[in-house]
């Protein structure tokens, strides 16, 4: 952080924000001048978002949503890594399960929400399970590819040092596959958010998705927009946090590639 800021970078960042502010201004101007029934101005939407994020809904909807999102995401990631790494490392396993994996991965997670509700009930745990299901595939497939691509010489070095399979996976394969695993984690983050919102729109009584749908049905237009804004902000905050973590964990990788940190 003590690095000196490059004036050109500052200019680019400032320009980006300027465009964002300009778009919000356009929204505000258009909505207030046209007085459309189903478009609330940015100011009203932002106020509704603030109310949603700070009022009683904070504990009844916002935080439970974030909690389910994080729990589902974490479970999906752990399962994806724990299953994907051994599959990638033990190459002979892969042909057996590849078709099944490809099918399950292609299944849009929102599509299984109704089935999950039927099977598991309309509980918070069901929603977490569906989020985990949605998140795990990107991680799993990237973990398989990453583990399969580990340089055999590194594995040999582990074997020369008499490491068992578990130690080779933990000390060599997982760290070596980490750049690719992180690519999967990043995709999974977006998917987890989508599934969270959607799962709360079906057979639900709380959560951000529920709030948005309910507001819309009651013609509470600013509240509907506010809910969407809040979800956008939450997603944005998590992806910023994710990039920060990724850059720290993979600093060796970024340096090795010789490029500036991406982002």
């Amino acid at each position: 952080m003590s690095r000196r800021l490059d004036p050109r970078t500052v200019a680019y960042v400032a320009l980006g924000w300027l465009v964002a502010v300009a778009l919000l201004g356009l929204w505000q101007l258009y909505a207030t001048s046209a007085e459309l029934l189903y478009l609330s101005p940015f100011s009203d939407s932002a106020a509704a978002m603030w109310e949603l994020a700070t009022g009683p809904t904070l504990t009844t909807d916002v935080l439970p949503s974030i909690g389910r999102f994080l729990a589902g995401y974490a479970i999906g990631c752990v399962v994806g890594i724990a299953v994907g790494v051994p599959i990638g490392y033990i190459r002979s396993l892969e042909p057996w399960i590849r078709p099944v994996l490809e099918f399950l991965r292609s299944l849009p997670a929102p599509a299984i929400v109704p089935i999950a509700v039927l099977l598991l009930g309309a509980s918070s745990g069901t929603r977490i399970a569906v989020i985990a299901f949605g998140a795990c595939w990107a991680v799993l497939l990237n973990a398989i590819d990453g583990a399969r691509g580990v340089d055999p010489l590194l594995i040999d070095t582990g074997r020369v040092n008499r490491l068992g399979t578990a130690a080779i996976l933990r000390r060599i394969v997982i760290p070596a596959a980490l750049p690719q695993i992180f690519a999967g984690l990043r995709i999974a983050l977006g998917i987890a958010l989508i599934v969270m919102v959607f799962s709360e729109m079906i057979a639900s009584t709380s959560g951000l998705g529920f709030q948005i749908l309910t507001s819309q049905r009651r013609f509470l237009v600013p509240e509907t927009y506010g809910g969407v804004l809040l979800i956008g902000l939450i997603g944005w905050a998590f992806s910023v946090l994710f990039l920060y973590v990724e850059r720290r964990v993979l600093s060796w990788h970024v340096g090795r590639l010789g490029g500036a940190p991406r982002g």
Binding site: L153, V160, N161, G255, R256
Partner: protein, 260 residues
């Protein structure tokens, strides 16, 4: 005469290629004595690397036996480290230099591990580079990290697969001298593989010449040159030139016979 550390008897190794198989090692026997510097030379593609990996226990052999101090070994040799030609692929890119060197020391008391890592880095002249990552170092320095890792692990046997083939000539000279220094100081045994005949003679006590694939040992040459060896003086000795001519003949003749 010193006791044999490693005995290799009549090993054979084939690789499946399509429906058939390619015989990489026909029939190789050799013995590596305690504290010996033994080098295997042979033409490119004669199966030197396969031989080294088979002896290490990284590749299963089809026939024959490998013994460590007289006891048959199935699997990876004990107290052994390998230095590969591809230094940029055998170091862990996510670990700093000191952590790479420390890699084999899992389970060793922390203070002792610290000391061993510091000593190993000192012996390969890499003090001050502890916090660097492998990709921040030159090829020669990376190879020294790999050697330091073997030193820290207290390997009694070092298998080296063309370790200096991918560095520039000057770096190579300094690495060769450093290796000889380490070998004498630590009292380890080295099994070295190279296609460079001068390097083989300069470093070794004995040189084994391999044939074209399927490989077998076609000659064993005692290198009766005085130690310590020197890049210039040793290479100017009449005896060095004689040995060089002899080995060149052995390698070259076989090569031509195979082409014809």
């Amino acid at each position: 005469m010193a006791e044999d550390l490693i005995t290799v008897e009549h090993i054979r190794k084939a690789f499946a290629v399509g429906a058939g198989e390619t015989l990489a090692i026909g029939d190789v026997s050799l013995a590596l004595r305690e504290r010996e510097f033994l080098t295997v030379v042979g033409p490119s593609g004669c199966g030197k690397t396969t031989l080294l990996r088979s002896i290490a226990g990284l590749l299963p052999i089809d026939e024959g036996e490998i013994r460590h101090r007289g006891r048959s070994v199935d699997g990876v040799l004990p107290a052994m480290q390998i230095v590969f030609q591809e230094y940029n692929r055998s170091l862990f890119p996510w670990l700093s230099v000191d952590r790479n060197v420390r890699f084999p020391l899992k389970g060793v008391d922390r203070r002792e591990a610290d000391e061993r890592v510091a000593e190993a880095l000192r012996l390969v002249h890499l003090e001050g580079f502890e916090g660097h990552y492998p990709w921040q170092l030159s090829g020669g320095m990376q190879q020294r990290v790999a050697i330091a890792r073997s030193v820290a692990a207290r390997a009694e046997l070092l298998l080296m697969d063309e370790p200096f083939a991918s560095v520039d000539a000057q770096t190579r000279i300094s690495l060769e001298m450093m290796l000889l220094e380490l070998w004498e100081r630590l009292g380890i045994s080295v099994l070295f593989v190279t296609h460079d005949i001068e390097e083989a003679i300069l470093l070794s006590d004995r040189v084994l010449v391999l044939s074209q694939r399927p490989s077998s040992v076609i000659a064993e040459i005692e290198v009766d040159l005085p130690r310590p060896r020197d890049q210039l003086k040793t290479k100017e000795l009449p005896r060095f030139l004689e040995l060089r001519e002899q080995v060149y003949g052995l390698v070259g003749l076989r090569g031509e016979a195979a082409v014809a």
